[in-house]
Amino acid sequence: MSSKAALKRIQLIPELQKKYNIFTHIENSVAEKVLPDDSNDSNAPLSHLVTGIKDNIVTYDMPTTCGSKILLDYISPFDATCVKLLRDAGALLVGKTNLDEFGMGSAGTHSHFGPVRNPLFPNENVVAGGSSSGSAAAVAAGAVDFALGTDTGGSVRLPAAYTSILGFKPSYGRISRYGVIAYAQSLDTVGILAKDLSLLRKVFRVLDKYDEKDPTSLDNELRAAISNRCIKRNTYKIGIPREFIQGSLTKELAKELTEPLSNFLKKLLQQGHELYPVSIPSTKFALPIYFTISPAEAASNLARYDGIRYGTRSEKNDLEDGTFFSSTRDAFGQVVKDRLVLGNYSLCSETFKDSYIRAQKLRVKIIDEFDSIFRFPNLLTGSEGNAYGLDLILGLTNDGLPQSIDYYNEKKISSPTNEYKNDIFVTPMSLAGLPVISFPLLKGKPLGIQIAGQYGDDSTVLDACSLLVDRDN
C-alpha cells in the first residue's frame, strides 16, 4: 500500500462518518502520521494500512467508550495488546468504531452514539449488523483497509455478512484479549474485518501471538502442537449441518437464496471438494445456552461500573429502592439492562443450577459433538479427531436480510428476543471457540456464508476461504 492510498482513505472519513455514523472517535492527527513511501519504517508489515478499532478495545491515546454513556469520557492508560501489535506493525489508527453497547446487540442500533447505517444501502436507513457495526461499515464504505471487531456470539460475522465483506473470528485464545473490555470473556474473541483475504491474513499473522498478560491466551506449546498437526490440502471434506439451514429462513430469503446457493455448492463439487450433510443436534440449544452464559458473565463483568469511579452518582443516596447505584447504572441502555437482569437471574442461588450450570453442561455437549465430526484433533479437549471426519463445516451466516433501523426500534419494544434470533447460526462456533470466517455469497449482497474448522485449525479455514472465494469471484 502507498502513502497516497492511505491519505485518500483518511480524507474520505469525515464525509463517510456523516453518512454512516461509523466512528465514536476520529483521530484527526492521523494524516500527519502517514510516512512517506521511501521511509525505512514503511517496510513494516502493515504500513500505510488504515484501520479502525472497535470501541471496546482500549487505546491510550483515544477514548474507549464501549458505546456506553457510562464510559463516555474514559481514556485507558494503556493500549490493548492487539492495538500495540498493530501500531508496531505500522498500521494507521484512524479512530474507534461504533458498536452496540458493550458488544450487546446484533444490529448495531444500541449505541449511545446512535445506530450505524449500512453502506451497502447508501440511500436507505438499513442496519449494518452488530455488535461490530462500525468496524464492518468502515470497511464496507472504504474508510479503512481493515478493522478490528470482537465476536462474542457472532458480532464480527453478522455485520460482515450484512455489509458483504469478510469477517474472521479466529479460535478462542489466538488473539490476546488483554485490553478488550470484557462482555462475556469465555466467548469474547478479537476478530478481523476486511474486503481482501490476503490483507486479512497479513493482519492475522501480526496478531496471532501468545500474550502472557492474557490468562486465556493460547500458549506457545499448544500453538506449536497445533501447527505440527496441520495438513495443507487442496480439496476438503465439508459438512453442511442441517441445523444451520433448516427452519428459520424467511420465505423471501429462501427464494432469493436457492439459486446462488446451489450454484455455489455445485462449484465446490466441481472443485473436487466433498460435501456431506451432517447433524450437530445440540446446536439447536445454542441460542438459549448463549443467552444464559453471556448475560451471566456480563452481569459479573459490568459490576465494576458502580458510580464511584464511572459515570455519574446520585447526589442524595447511593442506595435507592434497595439497589446500589441505581441512578448511575441507569446510564446503561435498555439492552444492557435487560441482559444484566437476565444474567443476575441466572446466577441467583435458586436458579443457578437449572440455568447456568445446565447451560455449561450443554455447552460441553456441543463441543463434544463438534469434536466427533472433525478430522482434526482438538488439542484443548484432548479429542483425537475422527479419522473419517470433516475438515470444515459450512452454513449461512445470517438467517435473514438486514432490516431497517426503524424495524429494530419498533421490534425492540415488543420483545428483545426478536433480535436475539439473528444470532442463530453464529453462536454455536462461539460456544465451541472454533475458527470461522464469513464471506459474501455474492459480491455486494448482504448474505454471508460461514466456514468453520476445528479448534486451533485457523489456517485450514483461511486456506479454504481463499480457494472458495477467489474462484467464486
Binding site: K213, P215, S300, Y305, C348, F352
Partner: protein, 542 residues
C-alpha cells in the same frame, strides 16, 4: 451513671466474672482470614505490603487492582505454594484441581464488584489441628479442632470513614492481597480452647513464614460462629484482637442465655444472624431477611489450579518440623528444657522490635548446647546438662541483647556457638564466678556493639579474665581468708547480728556476710569457701 451500673449488675453478670453454665452448652467455630506474606499480590505484580504503606494510600495498585476495564488476573503461584504449606501443616487433604469463583457484592473498596475466591471447589479440606493441655494450656488433656476447608481469595481495599466530612476515603493498597480463609468445624466448647487455637494458629503461620500472623495489623482476622444448645447460629464480626474475640463471645453467651431463660429463644434465636462487636456489646448487623445472594459463578478466565500428585509430598519435604514436634524434642533428652524455656525457643514473637527471631535463637541454642555437651562429656549429670546453656542464653544473653539493642543475628557472626560454649566452660570449670561471668559477657557484647560486630574480631576470654583480674581464686590460704572474714565482721559494726548468727538464732543472716565477702573479692572467691571461713571465725556450732 447509677442506672447504668445497676443495669449492668442485675441483668448482665460482668464479663470479668464470666463462667460457662453447665446447662447452656456453647458451640463455636472460627473463620480465620490470613493475609499471605507473598512478594506480590494474588493476581498482579503489585507489591504486597498493605500495612507498611498505610501512609501512602493507593501506592501499590496496578491496573488490575483498581479494576480498569480490559485488565485480567494472572495467578501468583507463590500464594499457591503458601496455601499448600498451610494445608499440609493443618493435616488437610489438598485438592489437586481447585478453581476460582466470583462472589458478587457491591462495596466501595471492592473495585471489581466481586471478590475472586474459591467456593465450588476449594483448595483444601478435612484437616485438623490438635491442642494439648501441656503445650497449649487447655483444660482437657487434648482436643482436636477439625478444619472444614481452606480457600485462597483476594482481600478487599480499605475504607476510611471521615464522619465529619461525610466522605469515605478508599485505599486500594490491600486490594488483591492474597488471603487464605480457613473455616473450622464448630468444635470449640470453651474460651480456653479458642484462645489456645488462635495462639497456636498464629504461631504456625509465622513458623511456616507465610504470614506475619498479627491480629493488630489485620494480617489475621477472626470471625466467630456461635450457638448455644443448638439454637440458631450467630456470626460475630469486627473482632480486632484476642480480647475482643473472647469478650464478644462472653457477652453473646450471656445475652443468649438470658434470652433462653426469658423463654424468648423461639422468637429471638431461631434465625441465623450476623452481629458486630462495638467494644462493649454485640449488635445486629444483618439477619436472614437481608442476606445477600452472592451469585457465585466460576471465574471464566482464571485457569484451574492443577497440581501434580507429587507436589504435596515435595513441599512437605521442604517444610520445617512442626512447632509441637520441636517443642517435644526440646523438653526431652538430652535437652530436658522446661516447657516455658522450650517455648521461648519455639514461639514466634510478633517480630516488631525484637532482637532475635526464634529460629536463630533456637539454632544458636542447639549449636551451643552440643558444643558445650561435647566438651563436658561425662563430667556432669545428664539432667543438669542444659542448666548453663539455658541460664546463660535464654536468660542472660537475651537480657543483655535487649538492653544493648543488639540483634542476635549480628553478634553470632563473632560470638559463635563454639565460642559461647568456651565461655560456658569457664563457668562450668569454676574459672570465673557467675557474677564475673555476667560482667564479662556484658563487656564482650558491649565491645561487639561498639565495633559494629566486626566479623574479623575475635574474642579471647582468657586474656580478658586476666585483664580484669577476675579469675576465681581456688587455692586460697585459710588464714588469709579468715583475716578477710574477721575484717568484714568488724566493719559491719552490728554486734547483735553477729551474736545472733553465731548462736544460730538468725542462721540465714550468714548469707549477708558471705555476700559482703563476694562483693569485696569481686566474686573471685567461692561463696562456699567464705561460708566455711565465717563459720570458723564465729565458731558456729550449728
Amino acid at each position: 451513671m447509677w442506672v447504668f451500673r445497676r443495669f449492668n449488675h442485675t441483668h448482665f453478670p460482668q464479663i470479668s466474672e464470666f463462667r460457662l453454665l453447665p446447662q447452656y452448652k456453647l458451640k463455636c467455630g472460627l473463620e480465620i482470614h490470613t493475609q499471605l506474606d507473598t512478594r506480590n499480590k494474588l493476581f498482579s505484580m503489585s507489591t504486597n505490603d498493605p500495612f507498611h504503606s498505610a501512609n501512602n494510600p493507593n501506592l501499590h495498585t496496578s491496573f488490575f487492582d483498581i479494576a480498569l476495564p480490559g485488565t485480567q488476573p494472572l495467578l501468583n503461584y507463590e500464594a499457591v505454594l503458601f496455601a499448600t504449606k498451610l494445608a499440609i501443616a493443618l493435616n488437610c487433604r489438598v485438592n489437586l484441581d481447585s478453581q476460582f469463583d466470583r462472589k458478587h457484592y457491591f462495596y466501595g473498596d471492592q473495585p471489581l464488584g466481586y471478590q475472586i475466591t474459591q467456593h465450588f471447589s476449594p483448595f483444601a479440606s478435612q484437616g485438623h489441628l490438635p491442642l494439648y493441655r501441656d503445650i497449649d494450656g487447655i483444660a482437657e488433656i487434648n482436643k482436636n479442632i477439625h478444619v472444614a476447608q481452606l480457600q485462597i481469595e483476594q482481600d478487599t481495599g480499605k475504607s476510611l470513614y471521615k464522619k465529619s466530612e461525610q466522605i469515605t476515603l478508599i485505599d486500594l493498597n490491600r486490594s488483591g492481597v492474597p488471603l487464605i480463609e480457613m473455616v473450622t468445624e464448630p468444635d470449640f466448647q470453651d474460651l480456653g480452647q479458642i484462645r489456645a487455637f488462635i495462639k497456636k494458629y498464629q504461631n504456625l503461620v509465622r513458623h511456616l513464614k507465610i504470614s506475619t500472623g498479627d491480629l493488630e495489623t489485620g494480617a489475621i482476622r477472626v470471625d466467630v460462629n456461635l450457638s448455644i444448645n443448638d439454637h440458631a447460629r450467630v456470626e460475630l464480626k469486627n473482632l480486632p484482637n484476642t480480647s475482643s474475640i473472647l469478650n464478644a463471645i462472653k457477652y453473646e453467651y450471656l445475652r443468649q442465655v438470658r434470652i433462653i431463660e426469658d423463654g424468648m429463644a423461639n422468637k429471638l434465636l431461631s434465625q441465623p444472624e450476623t452481629r458486630g462487636w462495638t467494644g462493649s456489646s454485640t449488635v445486629k448487623l444483618r439477619g436472614k431477611e437481608t442476606t445477600i445472594d452472592y451469585r457465585y459463578m466460576p471465574d471464566m478466565e482464571l485457569p484451574r489450579i492443577k497440581l501434580a500428585s507429587d507436589v504435596v509430598e515435595t513441599v512437605r519435604k521442604t517444610m520445617p518440623p512442626s512447632p509441637d514436634k520441636v517443642l517435644n524434642t526440646l523438653i526431652s533428652e538430652p535437652y530436658r528444657l522446661s516447657l516455658k524455656d522450650a517455648k521461648i525457643l519455639c514461639l514466634n514473637s510478633n517480630g516488631q522490635g525484637e532482637m532475635y527471631n526464634h529460629e536463630e535463637l533456637q539454632q544458636f541454642y542447639l549449636d551451643t548446647f552440643h558444643s558445650y555437651a561435647y566438651r563436658v562429656k561425662e563430667g556432669i549429670r545428664a539432667n543438669n546438662l542444659s542448666k548453663l546453656p539455658t541460664n546463660w542464653i535464654i536468660h542472660e544473653l537475651l537480657g543483655d541483647l535487649n538492653k544493648l539493642e543488639l540483634p542476635l543475628s549480628k553478634i553470632t557472626k563473632v560470638l559463635k556457638p563454639k565460642i559461647f560454649a568456651d565461655f560456658l566452660m569457664l563457668i562450668h570449670n569454676n574459672e570465673i564466678s557467675g557474677a564475673s561471668g555476667k560482667l564479662l559477657l556484658f563487656h564482650v557484647l558491649k565491645t561487639l556493639k561498639e565495633t559494629n560486630c566486626d566479623a574479623c574480631a575475635s574474642i579471647d576470654f582468657d586474656s580478658l579474665i586476666d585483664e580484669f583480674d577476675i579469675r576465681t581464686i581456688n587455692q586460697i590460704d585459710d588464714g588469709e581468708l579468715e583475716e578477710i572474714c574477721q575484717g568484714i565482721i568488724e566493719s559491719i559494726k552490728n554486734e547483735k547480728l553477729i551474736n545472733d548468727i553465731a548462736s544460730g538464732k538468725k542462721k540465714n543472716s550468714i548469707k549477708f556476710l558471705v555476700g559482703q565477702g563476694m562483693k569485696l573479692s569481686q566474686g573471685r572467691i567461692k561463696a562456699q569457701d567464705f561460708e566455711k571461713s565465717f563459720k570458723k571465725v564465729l565458731d558456729v556450732k550449728w
